[in-house]
Assembly symmetry: C2
Homo-oligomer: 247 residues x 2
Amino acid sequence: MSPSRPAGLVRQARTPRQGIPDATVARLPVYLRALTSLAEHGVTTVSSEELATSAGVGSAKLRKDLSHLGSYGTRGVGYEVEYLVYQISRELGLTQDWRVAIVGAGNLGRALANYGGFASRGFTVVALLDAATDLIDQEVAGLPVLAVTELERVIAQEQVQIGVLATPACAAQDLCDRMVAAGVTSVLNFAPCVLNVPGHVMVRKVDLSTELQILAFHQQRGAAAGLGYGGLGEQSQDGPGAAEVAG
Amino acid sequence: MSPSRPAGLVRQARTPRQGIPDATVARLPVYLRALTSLAEHGVTTVSSEELATSAGVGSAKLRKDLSHLGSYGTRGVGYEVEYLVYQISRELGLTQDWRVAIVGAGNLGRALANYGGFASRGFTVVALLDAATDLIDQEVAGLPVLAVTELERVIAQEQVQIGVLATPACAAQDLCDRMVAAGVTSVLNFAPCVLNVPGHVMVRKVDLSTELQILAFHQQRGAAAGLGYGGLGEQSQDGPGAAEVAG
DNA sequence: AGGCACTTGTGAACGAACGCACAAAGTCAG
DNA sequence: CTGACTTTGTGCGTTCGTTCACAAGTGCCT
């Protein structure tokens, strides 16, 4: 790679950790995916303009985002793909392994367990639980479905840090409480309801129905028109509002 | 009611339609769900404080959000649940039926087809398509899986307005193009990739892997701490960034 | 009728995020 | 070595979103 640069490996590991904006954090995974894809295509260096296009954002925004991680990138050249992949991964905490438990082995739970994207980036699904007795001991994605009564034991034993809720809304709060009591500190909630958790626990919610309703709104009032600008624009996905709840 | 105001029933249907903030639109479905739940429990009137708690937001934000729809609500009393449900539904465009096609009948596609939340609010899944020949003609959620070669015909014939992509990333762009060409103007994308679409088409993206990575980031740096405030706070779900892409 | 307690709706202050545009910093050719 | 060209990193003005605090409106009780 660039010969003039000293030990490319370390290069000012000054981490301005004090506060990466939530909006930026939400975009880092997108950049990471774009970079990974580029790397697979044999690209070794990329400019902010190219990467921005791949990620579907503006180049200025991308540069500002990356500048929050530190001053990687070489003026006049661009960013070294592999190096940037590593830096973003490290910042997101993907260099360590996260142990995930999925609660609910219905259609959604099974889909999640089979989803390749989980395993690919430092996330290991270590357990899949359900309340329905006829599902128990079935094998899904190489994992046996466990009885939900074992939840506390499994979470402690497997050192689960992240819990994924793929259950009906009515059961979600109770199961969430149990997971939190057992030591889980991050929850990804697919159930269509608001969860109450203590302050040290982080919840993110994904709601299919909500997404459809937002689409319906925009379609109703003139099909995404209005702003209509020319260039390749953003793609909405996910907002800054990372928030917690205190109990 | 107020003597100065005309007929209570219509009650100033002055729709300040010119621009509801995206952030507000993203929260309306949450309010709607909370209201529906309250209605089912027999509650007829609710204050902004109570509703805000149910929805997991601050009461000031809730009031401002609702004020963008118009002046429903009665000072000293609160909001009439049923009336507000109707108003939000109307604003979101849920009073009409939206016809949805799901492309990809893998684990995720089947989960989506079976998801009750779709049908419950004006969304009708009219078709489920897949490329895998061994899935075709299987019945899922009362619908036969159709060959993806029929995509254009089905979308035109069934007047599909919203397309849901639940396919691998590599196939997503192509299928998206075909859906758009066939007349779809809103796309909900579950494939982990950025879609390029013409300016009149709206895309929303849901990415499970992204959500996990955001959780990992926050967990890594102190487990959702930092802000830690006392009251019941927000729950992150979905951002304002409603955006379109122009081709 | 009048006062009191309660709740909405909103003006205004604050803060976060975006995009522009440019200086600093580097590369490459000659 | 010099000079032209490329691309990053960032200061700044603007826009968008959130929060505070309060006036105005409503119902209830005396």
